[in-house]
Amino acid sequence: MELSRREFVKLVTGSGIVLTFSPLAIGAVPGFADRETLPGRAQWNPAVGGRGRIDGVAKVTGAKLYASDFRATDMPGWPATTAHAILVRANDATHIFTGLDLARLRGTMAPTVVVTAADLVRAGTRVPDFFKGDLFCPAGRTPLYLGQPVALLLFETFAAFNAARLAIRSGKFVQFGQATPAVAQTPYGSNRFVRVAGPAATGPDVYSPLQAGWVGPLRFVKGNTPVWAPGSPSGPASAQASYYGDQIRAELATANPDVLMLDRTFETQSIDPMFLEPESGLAWYDATTKKLDLVVGVQSPAEAADSVAHLLGKARAAFKPTHINTHFAYVGGGFGGRDHTSFPLYMALAAIFLPGRPVRLAHDRYQQFQGGIKRHAFKMHTRIGVDKGTGKIRAFAADHVLDGGGLANFSPSVADVGALGAIGIYAIPTVDVTTVAAHSRGVTAGSMRGYGTLQTMTALEVLIDEAALALRLDPIEFRRRNALPTDGRTLAGNTYVGVVRTPEILDKLDRHALWQQRAAAKTQAAAGFVVGTGVACVTKDFGSGADCSLATIELAPDGRIAINSDAVEMGTAIGTALANRAAAIMGGMADEVQMARVDVFGPLELMTSGDPYSGNQAAQDAAARNPRWVPQISSPSSSSVGAHVSTHGAAEAAKLLFRFGLWPAALDLWGVQAGDPLAGQWASARWNDGTLAVPGKAPLPLSALAARAHQRKLVTGVMVHGFSRWAWAAATFTVAGQSFTTDIDALAVRFGDGNFTRIDRRNVKFPPTVYNRFGTSYSTICGTLVRVAIERATGALRIVKAYSVVECGNTLVPEVVRGQMQGGFAMGMGQALLEYLPPFEDGPGNGTWNLGQYVVARASDLPIGDLECEILPPVTPADPPKGMAEVVSIPVIAALVNAIADATGHRFAALPVTPAMLQGVLK
């Protein structure tokens, strides 16, 4: 197959399917310009001049951006009409699925094709490991979970689709027979994290997951109860973990008058990410060319394409494409819920089973509740021991069980991240946390903002508050005494990268008027109301432990800057962040920024093998000898990677473009000779109002530098790949005769108006595979204060005032950070007080849920004019930016529960806390 140079190609092992990727060109939609409904198109990029958002005009003018906006007629070269698909899901998981009542769909509303489990067998499809489980429940079996798909109905006209969806929505279209028990499965994952610190604060640990490796159970009994190895101080890691863990638990179980011991449970509920754009997409399979085109809106573009390729990789000839081209659109909210979703698989099936016809598959909101990824409900049992004399936490033990729902998805990982976050911002010398990610017949849970730590740190921060009260210590003072110092070790046993700024955050909270005046506010409560103030402070990792950053920066002769990135825009303004990070180095705002461009990195000729999370060191060392090999090529836009990871590539590319393009151009314009000491001082140059300023030299505008760089055929384009496993991979390269080592593992450069050519790396240093034992090494800290007023008679709660403070390194777009803090507050408030999904038959899997039952925060629920957000300045100007989109919603929850405890005297141990519950304790 002949592919153009600009297409990024990856051959999928074994399947022979060629994968290519394209972003959606929002300027090139035919048929719309005639109607002049999209005035912003021609000038959709307002970043020129450093003002506004890259996607601002498109979003306020209704341009086609999201996957749900595209129909066949919008896609150049596609057939004109769009067919429509309905993904039918089971609303029962305790009876045998017998079939569909297709008699309802006679005549004009009859589907052209009905795809069921039997058809997948006939076609020879495979299920990607990540989505293991039947894609459709076969007739004669009990569905694996509520909301499991049972069939795809494909309609050639909108009229037929519209009539059919109304005809099947009531009653018993999906038919069930005999009652059965729910399908039982062993848990998706389980681990035990034990750490015993050594006698010296900064000395080696006695035992830690980092030293010994992560430990799982021998087996499970009674369904979900893990059986751990018998304890032994000298046996394998699993025996040592049991030995030390059991010691910690024994200590916590022994009465000691010097120790405050609290034994508590806490439960958090399942919630829906409720991104506003339901999952949707478009797919077209041309059987003559055997090309499958997909239009998707996901957080994980590369994964989506890989999964579809796996699905069809061994299919029978009639069902197997030779080429899959994936178009990526903006997403209407993600919050994790669009990372590794099975939705693209069903889109692909719809197209494959209706060849020649572009097919649209789109959830309505009921279907999104029924089938979309949920947040895990957690049940947590925690014991904590605090020295009464010093107010220092001595020991901590917790057992977590989380409901993963019907498919594994990210459940094992959410369990681990939640467990490793269970001690929050604290230094605790002895910790034992076990976790079990259980299967259930509920809707599948997976990645969602907070990713396990939201649940465990909420439980922790509520417990910490109770402990402080019991010790008669100010809650912030208690936190300060126990805060992990910069050189302190996490539960995994590693230290954080950079300064741990907990004390500064705590000081900010402590000195805030909301905290200082809390006693007065309480006594001044209006008649019929109780008032309380709560605090919480948490740390959240960012990054997933295998994160990639792909970027190109190209400079035109007139000084225009174009950036391409593989990151996905989901509302985080990542495009604007990229432009800002590069602008600080390049001296000018990008004129064009394109996101989700997985397609332009062909010149790097990257290849990969193995699993970046689980490979061993020898395999990595062997693979790394090939200069084109990287542990992973492209990774999802999730885990708060935007600021730190996704902009890393652009920053690295900008630095190299400056050093090898703009700087030598400046030297040339100044007439500086090669031997002059100034030639090597590119790092001392500063941008000043768009001109390059060096003392004693004429200021030079970017346009002049760009023109000279092109004229002298200097570097005018840089393409890089970066990889982070809790540290960046680094390698040595030689450009223009100069060798340098920097935090990238692949590089291509362009001289003048030439083509990109790959530069072979030398001395590559990938982060060692043992770093996979870290929980994280990147951390962002956020604290929140809230004051609530609760009406005694009704239990109605109002947030009177709130304050959040975050530290996130260098802030790329402060308005975006503030927006995330405000949005995180709203989502945290919803988790604490509003949102609730019952787990099973009454829950979202029954297909009847919408925003009437499922209440998310509205403006009237929030302190719109009384929410103060503060961002700490970076420690040094060189601090990298840090991810913060997850952490900002977490302390809100515990702060609210603590404020309620302050107001009512009752500490709730399950979420959400409703007015009826408040009314109950205020009677």
Partner: protein
């Protein structure tokens, strides 16, 4: 900061119902119809007052039905859903000066002249909230009976006008044809009208 004033301003908006956690599914249109007893079936009750009260109690099954109560709320915001999962109306709307919504959110913006079953949307040309004094939410049938007879709390209606309202008003009649996804009120509007008529003729006694 004057906390009291702010609290007073917001309480009407932030009140949330316990039904959030009730988690009961929507009633299905396919559920079998629920009937009303005819006035004649109370003939065996000899005491006219007791008979009258019993007839009203039967009528009370209509009056306390969600199709009626949801728009006779105690506050400014209507309710939604069935008995088991009744909840505050989403999106948050308020009765406004005329009972037809606020200036920015009029009832008729969503509730058109008739039900739109494709959108599971109820409609009627005069969709609006009952005045606050006619609130039935959380009241017993006996309390509603006293209220419905009291001209100060029934819109100044005579008993005959009450009968006319229940027996013939087309917005009231919507309760028996609420469209897709909603269980209708028990019986028929004619049967409810007959009960009102019989209740009045037996002395309009309250339970």
């Amino acid at each position: 900061m004057n906390v009291q004033r702010q609290v007073a301003r917001f309480t009407g908006i932030v009140v949330m119902l316990a039904v959030l956690v009730a988690g009961v599914t929507e009633a299905r249109a396919a559920d079998p119809p629920v009937t009303l007893a005819a006035p004649e079936s109370f003939a065996a009750i000899a005491d006219p007052a007791a008979r009258s009260a019993a007839i009203f109690t039967e009528l009370g099954r209509v009056l306390t039905n969600p199709r009626c109560v949801n728009c006779h709320p105690v506050g400014d915001r209507p309710l939604q859903g069935e008995v088991a999962n009744r909840r505050l109306h989403q999106p948050p709307v308020a009765r406004g000066a005329d009972g037809f919504g606020t200036v920015s959110m009029r009832c008729a913006s969503c509730h058109q002249g008739a039900n739109f079953d494709a959108g599971a949307m109820p409609g009627h040309a005069h969709w609006h909230l009952a005045p606050l004094e006619m609130a039935w939410q959380d009241k017993s049938v006996a309390q509603i009976c006293a209220q419905i007879k009291d001209p100060a709390r029934n819109g100044g209606r005579t008993l005959a006008q009450i009968h006319e309202h229940i027996a013939t008003d087309t917005l009231v009649g919507w309760a028996w044809a609420p469209g897709f996804g909603r269980a209708p009120a028990p019986g028929t509007q004619a049967q409810a009208g007959a009960l009102v008529d019989a209740w009045i003729k037996t002395g309009a006694a309250c339970p």
